[in-house]
């Protein structure tokens, strides 16, 4: 299963592991996204060195690979913090008080949305809809969905994420 941000500890960049990831998917139809997901699952980000390996394996230009990596919001070009807290910033959550919670999270972590706290502990990221719109506002901590967010529940998440 491909999952955007699971709770696993990621391996450091390793060329041989990367090649194995690429080989595992290269013969599928439209292999590029599955390969990129596999690499990110393994290392937590897409190392620049992987672009050339993929380009060679799929017989496409490195520019093409780079263009795809940078097009999609999910693909990271450097590792995230130890925990990733995504706050939904879309309309249903705005209607339910999401703006105030986003400001509160920024203040408590001391970073603007889209950045990682100085100690590398928490990446605070916007997400545009988690499909939890009837239990808004919503968040996702390391792949775990959280609904009916209020300041108290958000504080508990932030405390958990900073441990």
């Amino acid at each position: 299963m491909q999952q955007a941000h699971s709770n696993r500890v990621h391996a450091p960049w390793d060329k041989d592991i990367a090649i194995a990831c690429i080989r595992a998917h290269r013969d599928r139809e439209g292999p590029l996204l599955p390969i990129l997901h596999a690499l990110q699952e393994e290392f937590g980000y897409i190392d620049e060195a992987a672009e050339l390996l993929i380009a060679e394996a799929l017989n496409i230009s490195r520019a093409e690979v780079h263009g795809v990596v940078t097009f999609y919001h999910d693909f990271r070009r450097r590792p995230a913090g130890r925990h990733v807290l995504k706050l939904c910033r879309a309309e249903a959550c705005q209607a339910a008080g999401g703006d105030v919670l986003a400001s509160h999270a920024e203040a408590r972590l001391g970073v603007a949305m889209g950045n990682t706290s100085a100690d590398g502990g928490v990446s605070l990221e916007p997400v545009y809809c988690l499909g939890l719109c009837a239990t808004a506002p919503s968040a996702m901590l390391d792949g775990r969905p959280v609904g009916r967010l209020d300041q108290e529940r958000l504080d508990a998440l932030l405390t958990e994420a900073r441990q």
Binding site: M1, G30, L32, L33, A90, A92, G97, C129, G131, A134
Partner: protein, 517 residues
């Protein structure tokens, strides 16, 4: 005697504590030495009552909710004693909010174990496929056409026409693609089906494959839905084991297999041609049409690409007949629509009903107004590209044409409620900001227009040359509406212009009330 309980494993139920409640009940059962069997289902869609616990009784299922872990001990006691509990909601099917719905597409959601194909079959599953195999390809297409089913993703294109087009073309390879890139805020129906009744989607895609002669299918699921992707993976594996997928579908001569592909956080990939490019491993950029995907779709092959709800509606259409489905609805909006009530709403969730119900009934009667208790001020229908409707338009019936006639759209059926604290100029600006953030960059009106739009709205709100800048914003919206390649740039003007037209006072203009004085 074993106590049989049902608790949702739907992501939104998990988000409000369904796992903790399940664990607490198991622990309480161990302490009280009670045998319990807990079936993890999808959600019934009554989200303000989640986590909901249902108990099997001789008279059918009885619901309790919303249950917290601390309720486990005495809830279990009440269930054994058959006595009263403060959280008792009565027989699930008799809860008015559920009882007044017409559940065709969502008939099994919340009822069955989504991991069990046997449970699916025990609840009338796979009957559509059975009839489809007896009918044959051409008659399947006619049945779907006769049902009046229109694309539930938002565009509302007749599904039968799409299938007929793909069926008529000769090609060595055709594809069935399911668009499960449900990115609209306020929508979660696709997620619920995939998590709560994944086999109905598989069955719908299998029927489509027989109808058009395709042998390979993909479900493109957004990465924000890891639970849905896991549920689909499990269901596909089970379907393969039982021969519902494979080289001989249900023992017939038809072959079809499918797999899950996960997106990577690009809203624009919900647009069908961007989705196809993304599946091919490219940047998710919009294609110029024609050619239509039915002619040249995935890898240049004829492709039927439909939304989750469209495919999921097909099995019941085949099982009960196109005319049965067509009998629901109004005008040229036939059948039922799974409407999603969201945002600042007291009773939010999935409400499937025949087309024709008014927006006011949905928001005030069924949704019971805002959760904050403040007056409703605006309702955005159809996701981030849908118009903001004021209360004065609450008589609009839920119907493709009725919403279009009022410069709005029903889209994928999301209804997001805002109370009177909303700043509509801020919402208009957000619509432009979202468009700028998600634009694929291929066409100029969307790519550049969205950023210029934010700037113009900022100037209007600051009071700089208000009249001239308002005219400029209207002109820009016209350019985006008519000049963009797809609905992202083309429909962003709906939320912007509706906010400006119905709530001018939020943009610093004198309110209509003040103007009248």
């Amino acid at each position: 005697m074993t106590l049989r309980l049902f608790i949702s494993r739907d992501a939104a139920a998990i988000a409000v504590g369904a796992e903790e409640v399940t664990a607490a009940i198991r622990a309480a059962a161990a302490r009280q030495n009670v045998a319990v069997e807990i079936v993890r289902t999808g959600s019934r869609g009554l989200y303000w009552l989640e986590p909901m616990v249902e108990a099997s009784t001789p008279g059918g299922r009885v619901a309790y909710g919303p249950v917290a872990p601390r309720d486990a001990e005495d809830l279990l006691g009440a269930l054994i004693g058959g006595g009263f509990h403060a959280l008792r909601l009565g027989p699930t099917e008799e809860i008015p909010w559920l009882k007044r719905q017409t559940r065709l597409t969502f008939a099994r959601c919340g009822l069955v174990d989504p991991r069990s194909l046997d449970d699916y079959r025990a609840h009338a599953g796979a009957k559509g496929l059975e009839r489809a195999l007896a009918l044959g390809p051409a008659a399947i297409v006619e049945e779907v056409a006769q049902s009046g089913l229109r694309g539930r993703g938002g565009a509302g294109f007749p599904t039968g026409v799409k299938w007929r087009t793909a069926a008529q073309i000769e090609a060595p390879q055709k594809y069935i693609v399911c668009n499960a890139d449900e990115g609209d805020s306020g929508t979660f129906a696709d997620r619920m089906i995939m998590e709560g009744d994944p086999f109905v989607l598989i069955e719908g895609m299998v029927i489509a494959s027989i109808a058009v002669g395709a042998t390979k299918g993909y479900v493109y699921i957004r990465s924000e839905y890891p639970h849905a992707a896991a549920a689909m993976e499990a269901a596909i594996a089970a379907a393969r084991r039982s021969g519902l997928l494979g080289s001989r579908i249900a023992g017939s001569s038809f072959a079809f297999d499918m797999e899950v592909r996960v997106g990577a956080g690009a809203y624009v990939c919900g647009e069908e041609t961007s989705l196809l490019d993304s599946l091919e491993g490219k940047r998710g950029q919009v294609r110029v049409k024609p050619p239509l995907p039915a002619h040249k779709g995935l890898f240049g092959r004829p492709t039927v690409i439909n939304n989750v709800l469209s495919f999921a509606s097909v099995p019941i259409i085949l099982d009960r007949g196109g005319a049965f489905y067509r009998d629901f609805g109004m005008g040229s909006s036939r059948g039922t629509m799974p409407i999603q009530l969201a945002g600042n709403i007291k009773h939010g969730g999935l409400f499937e009903t025949a087309f024709g119900i008014t927006l006011g009934e949905l928001v005030e009667d069924i949704g019971s107004g805002t959760r904050s208790g403040r007056p409703v001020r605006a309702v955005q229908v159809g996701g981030p590209l849908g118009a903001y409707f004021p209360r004065t338009l609450f008589d609009t019936p839920f119907d493709y044409e009725a919403f279009a006639a009022r410069d709005g759209l029903i889209g994928h059926g999301g209804v997001v409620v805002f109370d009177d604290t909303v700043d509509m100029a801020k919402q208009a600006r957000f619509a432009m900001e979202f468009c700028a953030f998600e634009s694929c960059g291929k066409c100029t009106p969307c790519r550049v227009g969205s950023t210029r739009g934010m700037e113009v709205i900022d100037r209007i709100v600051r009071g700089e040359n208000r009249a001239a800048n308002t005219a400029l914003l209207e002109d820009l919206c016209n350019t985006m509406k008519f000049g963009s390649l797809c609905a992202l740039g083309g429909f962003t003007p709906y939320p912007v212009m509706s906010a400006l037209n119905y709530f001018p006072e939020d943009f610093g203009a004198p309110s209509r009330l003040q103007a009248a004085e």
